[in-house]
């Protein structure tokens, strides 16, 4: 299952070893074992409340785990703020609600972390940010404020912003769930292009078409546990667990 890296990838990027997390008395992550290889694309799915968002939010320590070991490129996540700051620059995150900074222009959103966290000179940071905005095909909007853009455009800016710290791993927390249907494709296309560049990606999504096309493995979670880890073809055609079958059945209807 998740205990080993996918055979096509050599080095581990993210390792969960027996990770547990509680919210008060609620056991939200139960004994998670998952090894994501460098360059691997993993899609995490499952019913709402299954702990999938919590799982990826532990990777950049927006949430703390209470037991077990969690490593990102060999660095163990602890309560040290300095170390977490370093890990967070290696891990980019894209949120469901975009979370762009509304008081800053698109370009300023993208240069904030490079200037203040990576200490790049402003000119260099701007050049790099414009290149990234070009990559997500939105450089022409660089001087607008987020409020002036459509949802799909905002999410593409959020992807460019997350790439600004040169992350080795990208986390996506339901990146298309808050979008109007006609804007889902532009965001998924951007993510697909990113995958083609060899980025390590952990994506929480219900876009099963994306999972089929892009994912190396699909992780199915329910009630805080990893129930099934499989190649997308195998998972979608013949899920091994009843809960996964039920979940897929509901998605299709």
């Amino acid at each position: 299952m998740g205990h080993t890296i996918h055979p096509s990838y050599q080095r581990p990027a993210v390792e969960f070893v027996g990770v547990h997390k509680w919210y008060g008395g609620f056991h939200v992550l139960k004994d998670i074992h998952l090894h994501v290889g460098a360059g691997e694309r993993v899609v995490v799915c499952g019913p709402s409340g299954s702990g999938k968002s919590t799982l990826i939010r532990c990777v950049n320590r927006l949430e703390e785990h209470q037991r077990g070991v969690l490593r990102v490129h060999g660095v163990e996540l602890t309560s040290s703020p300095v170390q977490n700051g370093r890990v967070r620059q290696d891990v980019g995150m894209v949120f469901q609600q975009f979370n762009l900074f509304p008081h800053l222009t698109v370009l300023q959103n993208c240069t904030l972390a490079p200037i203040w966290a990576r200490k790049l000179p402003r000119g260099e940071a701007e050049a790099q940010a414009l290149a990234l905005l070009e990559k997500v095909r939105i450089a022409d909007q660089a001087h607008k404020y987020p409020g002036e853009l459509s949802g799909g455009q905002q999410q593409r800016v959020a992807i460019a912003r997350a790439l600004g710290t040169n992350p080795k791993v990208m986390l996506f927390d339901e990146p298309t769930s808050a979008l109007d249907p006609e804007m889902v494709k532009e965001v998924l296309d951007t993510m697909t292009a990113l995958a083609a560049d060899g980025m390590t990606m952990i994506v929480v999504t219900h876009e099963m078409g994306f999972a089929r096309r892009v994912a190396d493995r699909v992780v199915f979670m329910d009630c805080g546990e990893i129930v099934e880890v499989d190649a997308p073809d195998a998972f979608f055609t013949a899920p091994r667990h009843e809960r996964a079958r039920q979940f897929l059945g509901q998605l299709l209807h």
């Binding site: 950049n60 620059q89 980019g92 995150m93 509304p102 904030l112 710290t165």
Partner: protein, 360 residues
């Protein structure tokens, strides 16, 4: 289609703006009677005021001319302008007070333009009070002026400016501590805020001026310093609550996004949370600024000659200028009103502008 909509809202009698107002004024016998009595009252009061302010008033000449009229003595304002604006500040050094006043007003006006917001302006808020203090005290020249002789509008504005700017320095950490996850820090902030807010400003001033020096014998505390300390703490306790509301209005995703980008807590606050929180509470900030300005006359009770007390000193020249209290206080009220009214119009304009720019 248009026709039908038009027909639907075709004004029936009394539904046009003028008709509606008319209906509110004379719609019923009771309304009509009420309106009539208010109109009569206004006419009587208005006529009395007109007689005092215009018809029976003295417009030219000096103190002697005023004694022959029963109405307002307008020359009083012209002759006493220096005393009212600059208090007992020595005349031979008046230029210092004038330059100080101009400097402070310039910085305040510059602060009103959103495109001027930035580090140079923040520096201006720190540097201007320092420069004004040096200038007013004259310590760099051979002719110093004691703080007790400072007075009038420059003093009021200087006290206001230092208290307002200083309160941000205290209130931002207080507001953050109030929202901290560390229980001890949070409790300490809550206690400090509630303690100071539960006390009238006058008491804060007394404590700072009289109680604190008693508790620290041998410590000579400058009057100006103790006034500012009291005002800063007092205003900060209100400002901290305003800022807390501003921080609370922000979606939690903003801080998470800043964290996820690897920004430290302080950078996240400085670059992401604080600018948005401040924008969200601009009307409350302007209100606080107005409230502080209107409270500055309280510093007179512990011996400072602020603008209002300078006006009172001018009005108290019974021998030379009898019956000039009304003119003097009308003038002081007019000055306070103009400043505060302008500030409140500015706040509305700013809100609209920030919304239009898509900042919020």
């Amino acid at each position: 289609m248009t026709m039908r909509i038009d027909a639907g809202v075709k004004p029936v009698e009394g539904s046009s703006p003028i008709g509606k107002r008319l209906a509110a004024i004379v719609g019923s016998p009771f309304n009509a009677a009420l309106s009539l009595s208010v109109a009569i009252l206004l006419a009587v009061v208005g006529w009395q005021f007109l007689r005092w302010a215009v018809i029976d008033a003295t417009w030219t000449g000096g103190a002697e001319a005023c004694k022959t009229h029963t109405g307002a003595c307008w020359p009083f304002l012209r002759v006493n302008a220096r005393l009212m604006f600059f208090g007992v500040y020595p005349e031979w050094a008046l230029w210092r007070a004038e330059v100080s006043l101009a400097l402070i007003v310039a910085v305040i006006i510059a602060s009103m333009a959103p495109w001027a917001w930035g580090w140079p302006l923040a520096l201006g808020w720190v540097a201007t009070p320092a420069v004004v203090c040096l200038l007013m005290s004259g310590v760099l020249t051979s002719t110093p002026v004691a703080t007790n002789d400072w007075g009038g509008a420059p003093l009021t504005l200087l006290v206001w400016m230092i208290a307002f700017a200083g309160s941000f320095v205290v209130a931002i950490p207080l507001a953050l501590a109030r929202r901290s996850r560390l229980g001890g820090l949070r409790t300490a902030a809550v206690v400090a805020i509630e303690l100071i807010r539960a006390v009238p400003m006058l008491v804060t001033l007394y404590v700072s001026r009289f109680i604190v020096p008693m508790m620290a014998p041998g410590l000579e505390i400058n009057l100006f310093v103790s006034v500012e300390a009291a005002l800063v703490l007092f205003v900060a306790s209100y400002l901290a609550e305003i800022l807390r509301a501003g921080f609370q209005a922000l979606p939690s995703g903003q801080f998470e996004a800043a964290q996820a980008l690897g920004l430290s807590y302080f950078r996240a606050v400085q670059l992401v949370l604080l600018p948005q929180a401040l924008r969200a509470v601009i009307p409350a900030l302007v209100n606080l600024g107005i409230g502080l300005l209107l409270s500055t006359p309280l510093i007179a009770v512990i011996g400072m000659t602020d603008f209002l007390s300078a006006v009172r000193v001018a009005a108290a020249q019974e021998q030379e200028w009898p019956r000039c209290y009304t003119v003097a206080y009308l003038f002081a009220g007019g000055v306070f009103f103009s400043v505060c009214f302008a500030a409140s119009r500015y706040s509305r304009w700013l809100e609209k502008r920030l919304r239009a720019a898509g900042h919020s």
